[in-house]
Symmetry: C2
Subunit: 202 residues, 2 copies
């Protein structure tokens, strides 16, 4: 077993596969993006990279707003469709039977069937080559109420989210631990000398 020395490439995986909606309630489009991520926790900032030749590029550049809609197993067909078809040739909301819904802050529609949407205002556009990076403030979040319990806690694990890895969409699989779990394991020496890992209470 060893390493092969390849040239630089975009082999980060897995990455999100989100449906980015743009435009307004009358004239809108959806583009699927995998080049997307959080840039800052406080204030919350994100980005989406889009090729200048894509139909959504001009719409977003004009409106300086977009909405990032998380995708689920139920939405995987629509998600894929919105990534390979152009909004120049088809009304993607109509073709995918997705429902436009008004956001809180942005004038572009959010996708009703998405469990969670980040409403975004573009604050900077950085051209990089094949893609321009749209850096955004996340100005509001729309959350499906079926994922929030009586105490206001979000159960995003119940949304059936999907991820994208090297050309394939995947359902999320077995949970392997919550953040900090490795710290919660306490190494304890038993009287017999055997070292065991015991989960810490609380």
């Amino acid at each position: 077993m060893g390493k092969l020395a390849w040239k630089g490439g975009t082999l980060l995986a897995p990455v999100p596969a989100v449906m980015v909606s743009c435009g307004d309630m009358d004239n809108s489009n959806i583009i699927t993006a995998a080049w997307c991520g959080i840039m800052c926790s406080d204030p919350p900032k994100t980005y989406v990279s889009i090729r200048p030749e894509r139909h959504s590029y001009g719409i977003i550049k004009e409106k300086m707003e977009l909405a990032i809609n998380l995708t689920t197993e139920k939405l995987v067909n629509a998600c894929d469709y919105c990534g390979i078809k152009s909004g120049r040739d088809a009304d993607k909301f109509e073709k995918t039977h997705l429902t436009k819904e008004k956001g809180q802050v942005v004038s572009c529609p959010i996708i009703k069937e998405s469990p969670l949407t980040l409403e975004c205002k573009v604050i900077q556009i950085i051209p990089m080559g094949s893609h321009d990076v749209f850096i955004c403030d996340i100005v509001a979040t729309d959350v499906d109420d079926s994922l929030v319990d009586a105490k206001g806690k979000l159960h995003l694990d119940k949304a059936g989210l999907i991820t994208y890895s090297h050309g394939t969409y995947y359902r999320l699989g077995k949970p392997l631990g919550n953040i900090g779990f490795s710290h919660a394991k306490k190494t304890k020496k038993k009287p017999g000398g055997k070292i065991t890992n015991k989960p810490r209470r609380g």
Copy 2:
């Protein structure tokens, strides 16, 4: 069922959970990052967002190099550990029993146990608030040879990659389709008039 109107937040999910190695072969550190993504396909560019108070921040700012190591189910414990412990208090390579390996281009170590590493040169640092964004050229890729077949095709699906969603690490689950699968379904009208979706050959 309806939408709850929340304020803006970093609820993009799922996102990568990568181990970022930095420094040099003698003095190195590993920091886990979920705020990471591809920014441009050609030339290949990526970013990692890091809080200025983190130990790796100063190292990366000085060297202007880092390596993004993909993480797997076998590495989930080390991945979590490197996200919650500071390199000021512990030698993370030693504590996690991970192996430093020389990269092709960058002087910082890559993690041998990672199936795929993106070697990166930082080209710009953008302060955003809690985090600074390190924008990078991906200058080389190191791929575990066990994932590449005789024809040179990468089988990243065999790596056991993990993803991170709302505080929990997950194994990738059931594959739901390859990019373009929705297009490959051909809508065909049967003589009886019923519309069926039939997968296209090839």
